[in-house]
Amino acid sequence: MKKVLIEMKNVTKDFLQGDNVIRALKPTNLVAYEGEMIGIVGPSGSGKSTFLTILGGLQKPSTGQVFLNSKPFSELSVKEKSKLRLEEIGFILQASNLIPFLTVKEQLVLYNKIMRSKVDKVWMTELFDKLGVEKLKDKYPNELSGGERQRSAIAKALYHNPNVIFADEPTASLDTNKAYEVVKLLARETKEQKKATIMVTHDERMLEFCDKVYVIVDGVLSQRVNA
């Protein structure tokens, strides 16, 4: 039996605009198992950001619940959510979430500094090898190409062994070959390390690496069957 890592149960989100209540997210259900890579596509304004921020615990759903590794994520306090995000989620963001004044290696060490834990050198080296950034570990983000930056971001996202990976437009600034390379790596690590990965993308070509694809239009999330 595969473990459920993310579960959204009847999640909705309403916004007040003047006197009108706008339902940005219609009742949404989603389950992600370990080892599963899920692609989310949708035009801008479709409710994709709302979906993502609720999934990431940055907004509270109006109704429904989000479970992260069986913990009632959406019910927690802001502080507890932050803590759980730090432990359970690895982020790979569009413009890369690397800190400009840290070398690739230091990006990973930062996690240890925050958690006051020891640097796991073996795991770090293994990750760097897998993602092909071993030679880049002492470089700063602005010395890296777009692809190298995203590979480093993946290393950073995986380093603290989160159960869930959040990838928001990870290939936005890359050419096709680099984009394929990055997404392929991400899919491989998802499988190997039994993560649940949610990847939001505009790029239809990247969906071939996903196990499931969801489309979100006008606040309605639906699975694309022919993926």
Binding site: G56, E87, I89, L93, F101, L102, I114
Partner: protein
Amino acid sequence: MFLAFKELKYAKQKFALIIAVVVLVSYLVYFLTSLAYGLASSYTNAVNKWESDQIIMTVDANDNLMMSFMTQTDFNNINIDGEKAKIGLFPAVIKNPQEVEDIDTRLNIYLFGIEDDGFLKPTDSNQTLTGNQVIVSDELSKNGYGIGDMIAISGSEIELEIIGFTKNATYQTAPVIYMALSTWQAYRFSTNTPPNLFSGIVVRGEIDSIESKLSSYTIDDYIFTLPGYTAQVLTFTIMIVFLIIIVAFVLGIFVYVLTIQKTSMFGVMKAQGISNGYIAGSVLIQTLLLVGIGIIIGFILTEVSVFFLSDIVPLATNVLFYIIITLAFFLFALFGGLFSVSAVLKIDPLKAIGG
């Protein structure tokens, strides 16, 4: 600490400029403090040397010890719990009677007329004050005077012989010459049979009662009556306080701008679950690092200046003042850093995701 340090290391030039501002201002502040303390000390050294509690003079003198005249009867009538000593105070201009070239002639000094067996006599010289034999401030040795040298007083027939030097003996920035009270009276009243008058009485201990024509001052109050002392101390204090506040603002603004520039980065960090506390902490630590590095350099520059300039300018080091000023720097810088902390708290991690 990690983030704060790494960023300093990465953006060296940027932070070097900020630190340079802190260095310059802290140098100025420490230097002014040394100068303020040095000047204040040169006003009051000779008074503090008394190690006493109070001073008594006549009400008619209007706070001006030099214009006070007291008699032996006054002295006898004062009841105190402790010790009392007579003092005669008057300014004079001295010159070298031989006018040897290497001695600066004509110096403004103060004459302290004291009793040889009283506690006002400098403890670091054990020569007996009689006749024209005097103990002088070691400031005079910088002007070329030595033991056994004669000093002439302008407008007087009296010549004095230096029999000893004493340290920290300046009054209103001028060197002090300690002489026997009878010699002082002879100079003060320009006669060989002077009246037995003196300026005031210095008291160690408590005064029980004094006559209504006399007034008593604590030594601290007395110091504040010295002409120019209050104005000078107040001016320096205001300058120093304002400079510290200005540094806090400048630093606060710098750090605030840097923080605003990093808004999106902090947003991403928050989205990843890094706490406000950690981010705000690293902003504050960075602020304190900038101040810390800046004031250490500023302090070293000051000490170097004190070392080389203390003969020309009355600079003096007071550890207590330095500690207070250093703490004030940190406190105000922390206050400046709080702007940035509030900016960090306001950053919305929502903006980092999606869009």
